[in-house]
């Protein structure tokens, strides 16, 4: 079987940089059949990575104001579909 590889493209989205966002995150739990959920709130750095074609986009969330207890990292990569911008920058009301 041919080895499966996919393109990984990094970039910067100035429209997303500085936005406050929540991530309904999680991932498979190693050694089990199950998924685990974890939630974050922070500020998007604007950095993103697209994996493969069609592109699967991930944004980097920093300045975390909410993260699971004991989460030791300062940033987390968040899948765009589970990322919710919650600031009011674009609101006109």
């Amino acid at each position: 079987m041919a080895e499966r590889t996919h393109e990984r493209v990094s970039g910067f989205d100035p429209d997303m940089a500085g936005r406050v966002a929540e991530c309904d995150g999680g991932h498979a739990v190693m050694g089990t059949h199950f998924a685990g959920r974890e939630e974050f709130t922070g500020t998007l750095t604007g950095e993103y990575v697209d994996h493969g074609d069609p592109p699967w986009r991930w944004y980097l969330l920093g300045d975390l104001t909410r993260r699971p207890d004991e989460y030791t990292h300062d940033t987390v990569w968040c899948e765009s579909g589970n990322l919710f911008v919650v600031d009011t920058r674009d609101r006109t009301d």
Binding site: C23, D24, H27, V29, M30, P54, T72, S80, N82
Partner: protein
Amino acid sequence: MSGDPLHTKLCDMLGIEFPVIAFTHCKDVAVAVINGGGFAVLGEAMHTPEDIEADVRWIRDRVEGRPFGIDLVLPSSVPPAGSVEELMSNIPDTHRAFAQEIKERYDVPDPKGQVDLHQWGGLNQELARAQLDVLLEERVPVIASGLGSPAFMLDAAHERGIKVFGLVGKARQAKRQLEAGVDAIIAQGYDAAGHTGNVGTLSIVAEVAAMAGDTPIIAAGGITTGRHLAASLCLGASGVWTGTLWLACRESDVDMIIKERILESTVDDTTFSTSISGMTMRVLRCPWTEEWAKPEAPAPLQAPYQMLLSSDYIQGANDNRRADLMTEAAGQGVSFVTSMKPAKQILFDMVEEALDTFDGICGDG
């Protein structure tokens, strides 16, 4: 009552007789349910792309053209990359010592083989993407995403005739996925086995169904009886997603020790614990979960550190078939799983009970 209350738009979409989806990690269970008139989704989150390809073909050879699904746990957040060795080095000594105390107190045997800490499943984007590419190449009838949004792959899937289901634990996730155009939403409540959100099944199913329009909603979490099926349809669902129900069926490859525990267990024998993985997870109680729940225990670590810590216990218990130590994920509906029946019989019993339930509510006329 007139009409068949169990014939839903999910049945029409999938061409199935009964709106019952078995979520299972056992291919034999999947095939039995599919050939019995239900639908099955095989969980492949921890499998290599090569194994997934083989499993898809194995099922396809046994279901005579009937549709089936494959579930992947697409990640939705991942920490910055780090090797297993780097992660292991971050586990505090206090936690290592507590795990060792449990090991000595309960005489937990060593695993028979090396615990494979490098099989990360959907934890990283690279492997999850490779898993997904197999499903697209193989044109599996249904791809279910057990966690992360599948929105990015909808066009690619639909171009290949693949339907995409997304599992959600919150209404805003459902709204996002509905807007993207998923083919069905699995609304999973707190009652479920494994890792769940904190919204109960009654609430999440009703809330998502109210916003779904013509898109079928599939109820998940604690569903093990025909009464649950009937209730789910009344809430606005078009079908049910069931997992614990199949763990103890005859075709299941789950260890007989766990099957017997499932049959004996009530809801009180399950616990919502972070001690296995660092994330809340509903499992059968075992010495590991009970010790970490004690006031003197250190707080469980965040994923993936707690899983790194618990893996030796879990693997040691399973490899050596220690009934007093083993555990398994189980939902709150486990109380109703009381006998070891063939999968097809479980399906038929559920359908019959649901029909009786509707008859009881509406009358036979």
